[in-house]
């Protein structure tokens, strides 16, 4: 009797990784899933914060996919290790601060380490030749195999017929004839395959899964690095970039202003780490001040926060500022008009 072969499938929660795992599973291979948490995963973070969305929490698609497949899912926190990928990607960034090729290499390398530790035989990804401009091109796919160290233990079932033979195919662990030769950006073959497996409800195909592909998010991260004079971040930094309006009136400070109650509640959790402002005379947002503002900067910040309160058309808005020592101070200011806020302050 032949040995039961085991594969680990990279599960993002999207359609391609669902199908790739299913194709290999259908050939009798025991599949488990692995999902990496970088901190930049889009999933449901903004959804979980905003009050209007909290009543209907978003599902975690990687867990959902694993459940559809009936496989175990290992979720791995790579937040710290991933920083090296974001700070200095060997293959550069994409359109924004997305280091897609280095990211893929890193994740496949982690999966390779995992199969060596756990005694699994090979790695499965949902990559398709020509589907992504950076990480899924004919010339970059061998780079992922080589630089991750996985070499011919990396199987891409959806486009395997367009690629050189891998060890799972050569050894007969999977039948190459039952793999696929998808290529390009069209999603029709995947949708057809999903139908043939009976999958009707899956995450929107080809959706970005990383905040670093988002131009606005990347601009905020680049601003953070500029302001601090170094490429670095902590988990709290990258979470806060997902929340509120970010305005930088000067190089030495910026404001994070909540846009609705859920964001205000979320920012409340950071009050002890930041100087913060709250309106008293009118309903309004909570604002955190990041940086090292001068006294005139604080007055300007108060006028700016007043602008986003329900007192924006009043002559005077009262606010309370709390400094890092927990000391309170009151301001009574005239809100800035829309015209007094330069567009370049908005990050």
């Amino acid at each position: 009797m032949s040995k039961q072969r085991k594969a680990i499938a990279l599960i993002s929660g999207g359609l391609d990784s669902l199908l790739a795992a299913k194709v290999v599973q259908a050939q009798g291979v025991q599949v488990e899933g692995i999902n990496f948490f970088t901190g930049f995963c889009v999933e449901g973070h903004t959804h979980a914060i905003r009050k209007k969305d909290r009543a209907k929490p978003k599902r975690n698609n990687a867990l959902w996919v694993a459940e559809q497949l009936g496989i175990k899912l290992h979720i791995v926190d790579i937040v710290e290790e991933y920083k090296a990928v974001v700070f200095n990607p060997k293959h550069g960034y994409g359109a924004n601060l997305n280091p897609c090729l280095d990211c893929k290499i890193f994740m496949v390398r982690k999966a390779h380490e995992w199969i060596l530790e756990q005694g699994f035989d090979f790695i499965v990804t949902g990559e398709v030749v020509g589907q992504r401009p950076m990480s899924q091109r004919r010339d970059t796919m061998p780079v992922v195999s080589r630089e991750s160290g996985s070499d011919d233990l990396l199987l891409r079932p959806l486009c395997a017929k367009n690629l050189p033979l891998t060890r799972p195919e050569r050894e007969g662990w999977v039948n190459r004839e039952k793999l696929f030769g998808f290529s390009g950006r069209s999603r029709k073959p995947q949708m057809e395959l999903a139908r043939s497996f009976g999958f009707k409800d899956y995450a929107q195909p080809a959706g970005g899964c990383c905040f670093l592909t988002d131009a606005q998010y990347s601009a905020k991260l680049a601003d953070l690095w500029r302001a601090r004079g170094t490429k670095n971040y902590e988990m709290d930094d990258i979470m806060l970039l997902k929340v509120g309006r970010h305005l930088r009136p000067g190089p030495n400070f910026k404001l994070i202003v909540s846009r609705e109650e859920g964001e205000g509640n979320f920012l409340q959790g950071y009050r002890k780490q930041f100087i913060h402002l709250k309106t008293l005379s009118h309903p309004g947002p909570l604002a955190l001040i990041d940086g090292d503002p001068s006294e005139p900067d604080l007055e300007l910040a108060a006028r700016l926060v007043a602008r986003f309160s329900q007192g924006r058309d009043s002559e005077r808005v009262e606010l309370e500022l709390t400094d890092l020592g927990g000391n309170h101070r009151r301001y009574a200011v005239k809100p800035l008009s829309a015209e007094e806020i330069p567009a370049e302050w908005y990050l």
């Binding site: 999902n35 449901g44 694993a66 290992h74 979720i75």
Partner: protein, 76 residues
């Protein structure tokens, strides 16, 4: 029976799931684990993680802004 309490307040998914996953890996079958979360998504995600990994959800409840999932560690 003693419970292992996991404080996942202020963390957004999947961090509560990761905390539960890593703690459960160290525990014996039958141990009760209570995860206290503020992300309401945990009420879906931790039970989903339990279903695919063979653990039993004993209770889910919300108290104000806190969402609590009690699970029993299953046999590996």
């Amino acid at each position: 029976m003693n419970r292992v309490i996991i404080d996942a307040r202020r963390l957004l998914c999947p961090m509560p799931v990761i905390l539960v996953q890593n703690r459960v890996a160290e525990l014996r079958p039958g141990t009760l684990v209570e995860a206290v979360c503020t992300d309401p998504g945990a009420l879906n995600d931790i039970p989903a993680w339990c279903r695919i990994n063979g653990h039993k959800v004993r209770e889910t409840r919300s108290q104000g802004d806190e969402h609590i999932v009690v699970l029993e560690v299953g046999e590996e």
